[in-house]
């Protein structure tokens, strides 16, 4: 009888820890980094390194200043750094990248209580603040394979005539990590197979964009592969802390993201709407969570007029 161990619930545990999940995300982000270095050259690696180093440094310093436990070993700051770098053009001045890391880690993440407490995706919010601050730097797209020449525009502006294969492989101007749909898809498949993310959000998001752009007369395949949609749908819209918990909630979340993205892309004044739509749905997440709360086992929904 001595073999029984009495413990409080939960009794079913998994091997997932924050650091192992973050490690998987980092591994999944690597193909896109390789693609970025191949397409944009070694400066892509430099920008990523600066973002990661400054994110980890800010995370360490702010936890020291706020007298909280050090959390850099959970690797979440590394992921934020990589995602932030993927959202910057390769020509970005490095000091702007450092400001972005400060906004992501200190303002968006730690001021709201650190990992799991932030209401919006840190890398995404940093990108939007930088976009609102340094519009010229943030929209200076380098040509692939020749970053000294500046491209006129992102392929999003002329989506009908874009080369689908170039968009798929990443041979187009754009942010560092968003150009190669192939590399991002590889990372996404890895995350789904490792059960780090559920495929509900990426599939619903991409599906909504596909169907809507087809219905509204745009080129649906090019809409999928262009801009930051793949990066957003696979890596940003699946952040645990800022997306709904239940499958139904995730579905609503991704549907909203898709609607907003297409609305901004086709009718808005900005060429790209992925970051705004995900941020907007981040803000709605607590409400979605409340509406889609799981029913406790054995309870019944109150029928209308049951009290009378």
């Amino acid at each position: 009888m001595g073999n029984f161990i009495v413990t409080p619930s939960p009794h079913i545990t998994s091997n997932h820890k924050t650091s192992t999940i973050m490690r998987d995300v980092i591994i999944a982000l690597m193909p896109a980094l390789v693609a970025a270095v191949v397409v944009f050259g070694i400066r892509a690696l430099v920008v990523t390194a600066v973002c990661v180093a400054s994110c980890v440094l800010f995370e360490y310093l702010i936890r020291r200043v706020m007298k909280r436990d050090a959390t850099i070993s959970d690797l979440s700051a590394v992921v934020t750094g990589i995602l932030l770098a993927y959202n910057l053009p390769v020509t970005i001045p490095l000091w702007i990248a450092v400001i972005g890391s400060f906004i992501a880690i200190v303002v968006v993440k730690q001021m709201f209580g650190g990992i799991g407490q932030n209401f919006a995706n840190p890398a995404l919010t940093a990108r939007i603040v930088l976009f609102a601050s340094f519009a010229v730097h943030m929209t200076t797209w380098a040509n692939p394979f020749d970053i000294d020449t500046i491209s006129s525009a992102t392929p999003l502006l002329d989506i009908e005539h874009a080369d689908t294969m170039a968009l798929f492989l990443g041979n187009v101007p754009g942010c560092l990590g968003e150009t190669s749909a192939l590399a991002l898809l590889l990372g996404g498949i890895y995350l789904v197979l490792r059960r780090v993310i559920s495929p509900v959000i990426p599939l619903t998001y991409l599906g909504t964009v596909f169907v809507l752009s087809w219905l509204l007369g745009s080129d649906p395949v090019n809409q999928l592969f262009a801009g930051g949609l793949m990066l957003g749908a696979i890596f940003m819209a699946t952040d645990y802390a800022t997306t709904p918990i239940t499958t139904k909630g995730k579905f609503i979340f991704a549907l909203g993201c898709g609607l907003m993205t297409i609305a901004i892309r086709l009718y808005g004044s900005y060429p790209e709407g992925v970051s705004f739509s995900i941020l907007f749905m981040n803000l709605l997440t607590p409400l979605i969570d409340r509406v889609t709360k799981a029913k406790a086992f054995g309870t019944q929904k109150k029928k209308k007029g049951a009290e009378e």
Partner: protein, 228 residues
């Protein structure tokens, strides 16, 4: 309450914007530059002092049931006065404040002070209260405006740092946007809370051994009071 206290409480302790969170609309709208913030603050201070005095004088005449419309009429009179003066003598400020100058009429700080203070207190105290609250409002607008101008335009009170120093990093236009205004507003409120908390903590440290509730037990132990 002493006269000085009546005046000074509006500066920090009961600052209308940063503590009572009244008048947020002009605070966010007119603080893209430090100078427009100060202009807005001073115009409001003038209206606030005058309306406080008049409402305090009229407090026995105004029937309770219709006091709010009466207050608004008094306030609107002074706002019209200020906007004519500014249009005539400081047209630049008049243009940059735009619609927000007329909107001083519905600024909740002014109506709030009329309702909470001027209609219940003597004329002198009401004037001091209005002056303190107005200067507190001006100070808040100046601080927020300075932060936003320095970070968003790279200048302060119209003086560009780049002209002055020869170099200055590119300013972050984010701070000029409404979102940046909210951000700076929140940070300034947090700083004020920190200051107030530090202020309130001081007396507790001064208690020492005499005020300590455990004094009776501590003094019996070895090492006496210092060991506790």
């Amino acid at each position: 309450m002493s006269n000085f206290k009546t005046f000074s409480k509006g500066i920090l302790e009961e600052n209308p914007v940063l503590v009572m969170l009244l008048g947020t609309c002009p605070t966010l709208a007119t603080t893209t530059l430090a100078s427009t913030g100060v202009g807005m603050g001073l115009a409001t201070t003038f209206v606030l002092v005058c309306s406080n005095i008049v409402i305090s004088m009229l407090k026995r005449v105004i029937p309770k049931e219709v006091r709010l419309p009466c207050f608004i009429v008094v306030i609107a009179g002074f706002v019209t006065f200020v906007s004519f003066i500014l249009q005539a003598y400081i047209p630049d400020l008049y243009d940059s404040l735009g619609i927000f100058l007329s909107l001083i009429v519905v600024n909740c700080i002014i109506l709030g002070r009329a309702e909470m203070f001027a209609s219940k207190n003597k004329v002198g105290a009401s004037a001091l209260d209005g002056l303190g609250m107005g200067l507190g409002f001006t100070l808040a607008l100046f601080v927020i405006g300075s932060c936003r101008e320095i970070l968003g335009f790279g200048s302060w009170l119209g003086i560009s740092f780049e002209d002055l120093l020869g170099f200055w990093p590119e300013p972050m236009l984010f701070f000029i946007t409404p979102a940046g205004g909210f951000f700076v507003f929140g940070v300034v409120i947090a700083v004020v809370n920190l200051i107030m908390r530090a202020k309130n903590r001081k007396p507790k440290e001064k208690i020492g051994c005499e005020g300590c509730p455990h004094k009776a037990e501590c003094t019996k132990q070895e090492g006496g009071c210092d060991a506790c």
